[in-house]
Amino acid sequence: ESLVLYTSQPNEDAQATVDAFEAANPGVEVEWVREGTTKIMAKLMAEIEAGNPVADVLLIADTVTMQRLKEAGQLMPYKSPEASAFEASLFDPDGTYYSTKMITTGIIYNTSAAMKPAGWEDLAKPEAKGLVTMPSPLTSGAALIHAQTLAGIGALGWDYYEALAENGATAAGGNGGVLKSVATGEKAYGMVVDFMAIREKAKGAPVEFVFPAEGVSAVTEPVAILRTAKNPDAAKKFVDFLLSEEGQQVAVTMGYIPARNGLALPEGFPAREVVKVLPVDAAAAVKNSDADLKTFSGIFGTN
């Protein structure tokens, strides 16, 4: 049996996930391709357009893209028995996609920075003038969801982004870029996904990561089976494995917050209670994404 996986997980994580799956399911051989979400989607869409999609399973960063694929009828519904251990907001009621972990976006700062931020509002303060950077929603799916999430909070909203823009914040590339510019001291503060900052800190980089008090947005790295999957059985096994306790433990060891209830958070993270994850409505997000992108672009002058 074989299985083709398209994923946007980082290399090592993808390898670890596949290794764990293969160990648990001897006889299934996984071929995987890893790329950034944009590229993997471009590849998949082109394959679909050409009438010969190769992938069986898709494991990518955000639900919004999955929702889009679902609406385009590209996903195969599958009710996984493991779903019961998950909160309902973390999977599609039709069973087309399931969240596998939570990657939150919080605040990173360079240890040499004068102010220690505690919440989103701090980034709009004069102390942070010109020192803030964030990933651009144009490049990163997670960043778009993050922007939509923060904009959805009454206390922040798009006004908050306007204040940031006024304060000289920039919207730069992807999460990697933000991490680099903060770690290298080009900027003092940034919005970035949790695991990157925490890992980098562990390696000795001069950075700190904060889960802001107002709450964090999260992408949930959903998994889905393509309607055109050539190996549906193996694909189902894969989904089940990822959602299983064993599979979720793999995510924890890799340094992610597991989506499944009842597992401890990985090292370097605060207690689960401190991390307040703000909810996001995937369907609405898909609907509004174009408008939101325009709003964001308007604010940050990304014409």
């Binding site: 944009t38 590849k43 799916g141 920039t170 680099k180 770690a183 001291g185 950075v207 174009d290 672009s297």
Partner: protein, 559 residues
Amino acid sequence: MSGVGEPAWLLAFVCGAVFLLSVLPLIHLGWAGLKGLEGGEAASVLLEAATFAALRNTLVAAAGGMVISLVVGALFAFVVALTDIRGKLALSFAFMLPMMIPPQVTALAWVEMSGPSSPLLKTLGLAPPLGSPQPLYSLAGIALLLGVQHAPLVFLAIKAGLATHPRDGVEAARLSGASPWRVFRDIVLPLACPALIAGGAIAFISGIGNFGIPAILGIPASIETLPTLIFAKFASFGSSTFGEIAVLSTIIASISAGGLLLQQRALKGRDYRLIGLTGARAAFTLGRLRIAVETLLWGTLALVLVAPLLALVASSLVPAYGVPLTLHTVSLQAYGEVLFRQTVTLTALKNSVFLASAAAVGLLVIALPAGYLLAARRGRVANLLAILIEIPYALPGIVLAVAFILAFAAPLPVIGVSIYGTIWIILAAYLSSFFAVSLKPVMSAFLQMDPSLEEAARLAGAGFLRRMRDVLLPLVAPAAGASVILVFLIAANELTVSALLWSAGTQTLGVAIFNLDDSGSSNLASALSVLVVAVVIGLMATLEVLAKYLPEGVLPWRN
């Protein structure tokens, strides 16, 4: 070229190659685009202000980059080819290396070099304060780095062209009383025109299609270019995406076609064919200026090569970003990791070396007849062919890759086998993408050749292939060598095309480096980049050692 009778199959061969490599994928892209356009939504992208701004930025950045490439590349080429400076071999060798360093890396290195944490500026006490604006995040910055990145293209194109320069023409001009500078302006420069124009064109087109540099330098400053805009469109995939991509790609294609027509116009009515034996190359003595020129060249090299390379090495020696490089933090662990633990490294190295060599040699096989044909017959058909050859190179890698998936994802007709998912599709895409790069120097060499040299071979009874091998190829050897090296260097590091086309076991080096970097292992990525540079230097050094067994003039760094 004599107008009479190139073999009939030649046109068919070239047209066939252009069809397979260029027209077929473009048709598929266009077709998908048309379907996307049906809704009518996608066409509106044409009217968006963002598109205009991106178009303007692309043109400005590419043109600026072209100018910088031309200035830097031509300076090096002329000085190295025509003057008596010392250390030519080392200079030309080193000058080609910046092409080896992936654009993202170069961009990051420069950002780092000129930013608050720049080790250089820190040591000098000139480091700007934390958070000060980065001057490279601007159109000028993009142009500068595009220029630096593509200068070797210009360098090689011009140097190959200069290899055939007639010495007596220069001598006649000097005897007419023209100072060396005057001779340069009146004789050398105009005669180098085809090469200059070819080099400029290739730099311009490279600038249009480049994604890595504007992505890193432009996005923070909210400067979109067409490639980054296209990337953004891919990011928010929707029903109209293909339509929009097709529309934006058409804009890029039109720019490159326009550029090419401009180029042909610039060349029109000029006959650069040299008459008779070209003999030894002209040499100018610099005298007291020599030291100054040498300093200038090595200084430039230090800036464009040594600095990014050092940055790369430095970041490969520390475990994470921002960790200062001290005796305490330095470790070779990253090298051990990529060399001995990451199996993908060796696979990727093998794949990339195979792809780069196959593309370089394969393209030579196509570019020689194509260059010959295009130089021999000028006119509509030739113009059309030239434009079709150019477009895939001008398109951002991601678009070309999508076009190839569209064209080749389904099993091939007749044989029923799909090359999709194999290394061959990457090779095909490389052939398509770098055709223009390979063709440019070869074609300008054919344009300059004294036609009677080929005629003599024909009369000696040599058929087309025979004289191609025995006479034409050796005569254009410098250009052919430049073309092979160019394609090899670009392909060895290629990222965006292969990013979409690779699958298990066919990773390329670019993909491997990018993935390492993307997953936060910047030290591994840097270590692998350094290794790649080292491998390529090793390969080039091997060639250098073998130089006496190679045809004369093929090694572009040799004089």
